[in-house]
């Protein structure tokens, strides 16, 4: 290795460490300040909670049923997320396949995309009952249209020349779909997954707000109503961790695929 290369790598490494340590410093300072200000009574920990109070909530997870609520939310989110992706992909494939259908449904998709899906909450509850089902439907309602639009858009933008090349070998539509369009859109798919993590969480939490039986969304409403801000803060932190873990899982999937193909699929 040349001296220049060594220096370059060293600089890269240094920058990485610098970014990471700054991130840690910010987090620690924030938590430290929060705790200190609450401790000294400069801010009212009854309203703002404090790191130590939150830790106490985590420590008492059995008495406040925290695990149950976490489990409910994770279950609903994963289910809503998966159904949203699978259903969205299937519909996108159908619309890609049929020019007629995609033209027919375009205005509906545009309107539905703009509609705030939370407004459908009461209707969903009346139709499927005030339970887990309604919450999952809510998560799907929020993520589905975006998934369809994102994937369809990717499909329609597949390189026309490559499709033409396949046609010169007399490829049929199914072959074009499976051998060109889908593999060419793996990155579109990964992007959809990333976007859907956030969207299905929004769906689940707003569903839990409305139905208020279990889950972190319920815990947040309940905590707000009885002024247990510690509970609210803890729930939010858990949601943050959950979203991070899901994002990490998708990123891992992406890396695996890239490694598998040994190329960059940007």
């Amino acid at each position: 290795m040349s001296e220049e290369r060594k220096r370059y790598l060293k600089k890269q490494k240094f920058e990485k460490i610098l970014v990471l340590s700054t991130q840690i410093v910010i987090l620690v300072t924030f938590l430290g300040l929060w705790e200190a200000l609450a401790n000294k009574g400069i801010i009212d920990s009854f309203i703002t909670s404090s790191p130590s109070r939150i830790i106490k909530i985590f420590a008492n997870f059995s008495s406040n049923n925290l695990l149950l609520h976490i489990r409910v939310t994770i279950y609903e989110t994963l289910l809503g997320f998966s159904i949203g992706i699978v259903l969205g992909t299937i519909i996108a494939i159908i619309l890609w396949w049929s020019n007629f259908l995609s033209k027919v449904f375009e205005p509906y998709l545009v309107v539905l995309n703009g509609l705030p899906k939370v407004a459908l909450g009461p209707i969903i509850i009346i139709w499927v009952g005030a339970g887990t089902k309604a919450i999952i439907v809510m998560a799907i309602a929020i993520s589905l249209i975006v998934t369809i639009l994102e994937i369809l858009n990717g499909f329609l933008n597949t390189d026309k020349e490559i499709i033409k090349m396949a046609k010169t070998f007399n490829a049929n539509k199914f072959q074009i779909l499976t051998k060109i369009v889908i593999p060419a859109n793996i990155s579109t798919f990964i992007n959809s997954l990333k976007i859907n993590i956030g969207l299905s969480l929004v769906g689940v939490i707003s569903g839990e707000f409305l139905i208020s039986k279990a889950g972190l969304g319920y815990l947040i409403t309940y905590g707000g109503q009885v002024f247990k801000l510690d509970l609210v803060m803890s729930s939010i932190i858990i949601l943050g961790i959950f979203a991070g873990v899901m994002y990490g899982a998708v990123a891992l999937l992406e890396k695996t695929i890239i490694n598998y193909r040994r190329i960059n699929i940007k």
């Binding site: 390189d159 020349e161 490559i162 033409k164 090349m165 396949a166 046609k167 010169t168 070998f169 007399n170 490829a171 072959q175 051998k179 060109i180 593999p183 060419a184 793996i186 193909r261 040994r262 190329i263 699929i265």
Partner: protein, 255 residues
């Protein structure tokens, strides 16, 4: 020699929202077996349209296409088509890319795979067969694209500005390679290009099209009378510039 391909009164009108475009009008052309025919013409005169019609990708408005005494109206297995871009699939290895046509046509059997491997060996890509397209040079990628087309054993090859995306040096080299491959495999070729020198250096005949709607304006026989005819050797002969001047004028009159 007998004609392998006959184009009779081919016309093409594109229908669009805001009117019609007459792209080609009454094209007549006979191509002999093993012949290399270059087609030149101003941009937009319908060269790509003509190849797409012959390949069966685009419907003709009028006329007949006859291959080996048989009229064809759809995609024919006797025709291979190479586009301007190499269109290699970035997520497949070179070998898997080369087998793509066989896979699509569902004829990926041991015999054809052996044939493909043989082509790779013959034309210097065998050691790269497990590489991905982005690890190959532009010239090698183009050669891979040609081999992909040759694997399905076409009798007639259509080339649509197949070299124009390459830089000059590579283009000269690839032209040489591909010309030799095609002569070696005895493939009849119809090549569209906007580069007069390319048309002359490769073609046994050069067809000049008028501007849109494209019709056959003139056809020139190219004969260098040299023993080892390759594009590069042609370029070095004194008559090369004669042909160039004639065709240059032929193309330029329209401007």
């Amino acid at each position: 020699m007998e004609d392998i391909l006959e184009l009779q009164n081919i016309s093409k009108k594109y229908q669009q929202k805001n009117g019609e475009t007459l792209a080609l009008m009454d094209i007549n052309l006979n191509v002999k077996k093993g012949e290399f025919v270059s087609i030149i013409g101003p941009s937009g005169c319908g060269k790509s349209t003509l190849l797409s019609i012959i390949a069966g990708l685009e419907e003709k408005t009028e006329g007949k296409i006859i291959i080996e005494d048989e009229e064809i109206n759809e995609i024919s297995p006797k025709i291979g088509y190479m586009l301007q871009k190499d269109c290699l699939l970035e997520w497949r290895t070179i070998f898997s890319n080369i087998l793509f046509g066989l896979e699509i046509k569902r004829i990926k059997n041991a015999e054809n795979i052996a044939y493909a491997k043989n082509l790779l060996k013959k034309y210097g890509l065998y050691e790269f067969k497990d590489k991905f397209p982005n690890q190959l040079s532009g010239g090698m990628r183009q050669r891979a694209a040609l081999i992909r087309t040759l694997c399905v054993k076409p009798k007639i090859l259509l080339l649509d500005e197949a070299f124009s995306a390459l830089d000059y040096q590579t283009r000269i080299k690839v032209t040489e390679d591909i010309y030799n491959i095609l002569k070696n495999e005895k493939i009849t070729t119809l090549m569209v290009t906007h580069d007069i020198t390319e048309a002359i250096s490769m073609g046994d005949r050069v067809v000049v099209l008028t501007k849109r709607p494209g019709t056959v304006k003139a056809i020139y026989d190219i004969n260098f009378e040299i023993k080892n005819r390759t594009p590069l050797n042609c370029r070095e002969t004194p008559i090369f510039s004669n042909y160039f001047n004639i065709l240059w004028k032929e193309l330029g009159v329209d401007e």
